[in-house]
Symmetry: C2
Subunit: 328 residues, 2 copies
């Protein structure tokens, strides 16, 4: 029997989950919930209804897992515990520093209601975290490096758009190739923020705006740009739409560490992602953990889990014997 999936929040991530469900034959979309007017929302899947977010609790029992596609700042801290009272849930909460308190809140709600909740599923946190953990467990004497990009940073693009005179903008985070090579060589470099990533901005200025002032405002902006080598390109709105409409991202998790009685051997573990679509890939990870959440729940488990707590086999639609035969 197919896993019935609910989606709460229909932005880029929610749409990505809808696509991921389509790619997984053992899942079916049961309903989409929105805080907008449901009658105005057109989704991709035929025959599936859109409801108001308020109606979600009344559909308890009709949905095997509710996927929460809101934002980490304003939505998920409230939504995930709230929905865990009615459903198995999965979110992609990505405010790293607040994960412990989010975990506690969700764990309480899910433990009380008897559901399984998976938080922080995605790629960072998510697949990158997993690779940090595996690599640290294997090479306890070693060093971690994470690089992001090349990809669009939503937060940095927003920061650009808040500058007076800026009509639109897009920011790419780019790992420095030389830094990556130094890490891979096993030379254990100390790298500053500036040495690891550069930032490239494509900006549409309002007519008559002072471009020099805009550029200065960007490259000197504390936290966002001041610590980086930042380049700014002014382009037209048409060029922005044509060349920078996608939401690519990716990155690298590298751990280097030694083995041998006298640490005489170097080893490099590297995991990387190159994604045409950041939200769709995040949604694909979420879909796999939604399957896991439902299975764990059917086994009688409850409470909050992260990617660290879930055995890999739960993510796959194939059974244990099949996995051992074909993938081990």
């Amino acid at each position: 029997m197919a896993i019935k999936v609910g989606i709460l929040g229909y932005g880029n991530l929610g749409k990505g989950v809808e696509c991921a469900v389509k790619h997984n034959p053992d899942m079916e979309l049961a309903a989409v919930f929105t805080r907008r007017d449901p009658s105005c929302l057109k989704i991709l899947t035929e025959g599936v209804k859109v409801f108001s977010a308020d109606e979600a609790p009344s559909m308890k029992g009709q949905i095997d897992v509710m996927i929460l596609c809101g934002g980490s700042a304003a939505d998920l801290p409230g939504q995930t515990p709230e929905m865990a009272a009615y459903f198995n849930v999965v979110d992609s909460f990505d405010t790293h520093a607040k994960i412990p308190e989010h975990f506690e809140a969700v764990d309480q709600a899910a433990s009380r209601s008897g559901h399984v909740a998976v938080i922080s599923a995605g790629w960072d946190p998510g697949m990158f975290s997993l690779n940090r953990l595996y690599a640290n467990a294997i090479l306890p004497g070693g060093r971690d490096y994470t690089f992001w990009g090349k990809g669009v940073s939503q937060g940095h693009s927003d920061a650009i758009r808040r500058i007076p005179g800026v009509k639109d903008g897009r920011q790419y985070t780019i790992p420095v190739e030389g830094a990556l090579e130094a890490v891979r060589s096993g030379s254990d470099p100390e790298l500053t923020t500036r040495q690891k990533h550069t930032r490239e901005c494509f900006v549409v200025a309002e007519e008559g705006a002072d471009k020099e002032a805009i550029e200065r405002a960007i490259v000197t902006m504390p936290n966002y740009f001041a610590d980086y080598d930042t380049t700014v390109h002014f382009i037209s709105q048409e060029e922005l739409m044509r060349d920078h409409a996608g939401i690519p991202h990716g990155g690298f998790v590298i751990r280097t560490g030694t083995t041998g009685w006298e640490d005489e051997h170097r080893n490099v573990i590297e995991y990387s992602l190159k994604l045409d679509s950041n939200p769709e890939f995040t949604a694909s990870v979420i879909a796999a953990y939604a399957r896991a959440a439902v299975r764990l729940s059917r086994e009688g488990q409850r409470g909050c889990k992260t990617v660290f707590d879930i055995a890999p086999a739960y993510l796959s639609a194939a059974d244990g014997a099949e996995l051992r035969k074909h993938m081990l």
Copy 2:
């Protein structure tokens, strides 16, 4: 209380496990068991005794996990089930085609005795398998590629050494850079055996041997070399010892797959290893799974498991809260 580790078999892998135990402060080496004369075996760890393999069963209760470091062809099919009657065990059984039957035999023994057994821990099978599974679960519409090397293949080196007139030899498996690039580009290439890897051989010929005949015997050898572009270099024994004494290896697991409603976006997941020491790295993976085996056993679990069945958190010496705080 430290995890007490036993090692059965003291070749390259057993020695690697000894080094890995040294790198993990929550583990201690309890004993080494050998089928050779124990009095002739000198190990690295001071104060630890070497026993005859026959004495292992009598140490039941004094060892938390026994790590089996024999070969997959002749040793592990018998040893792993046998030792699972007395201990939690971990092996690195790597004959892919025979994993299902090995699993069954070990599962029976471990279930009966109430121990946890982990089979096929290492990097392939092992970390590569994990990455195949995760990537397949995330991108169900996609394609897998595995490349090995650059590294020393023991089986191919042995095959060279069996040729008449060959005194010594070492074989490197090398992934073809162009093939890797084609895969990473997302072009989904169909690759033949010859297009994926080349083989490079360093051969020490006996005095007066017919080098042309040796080279011909190598490059035409069915299964081992005939399907590859193989180069043969004749060198002196001194050069072989000086330049080719190490046992490096590594490789790449890549999955490319699409996301989006119409599969309009491409995504590339890549995992790679670059290892100065193949056996030491394998041993380091084994050590992490030995920790997991002991923890699972303490929780009351029993039976055979693979890397697919074990939640990542069990591999780490850190607890859940610490992992969520620092690695998620």
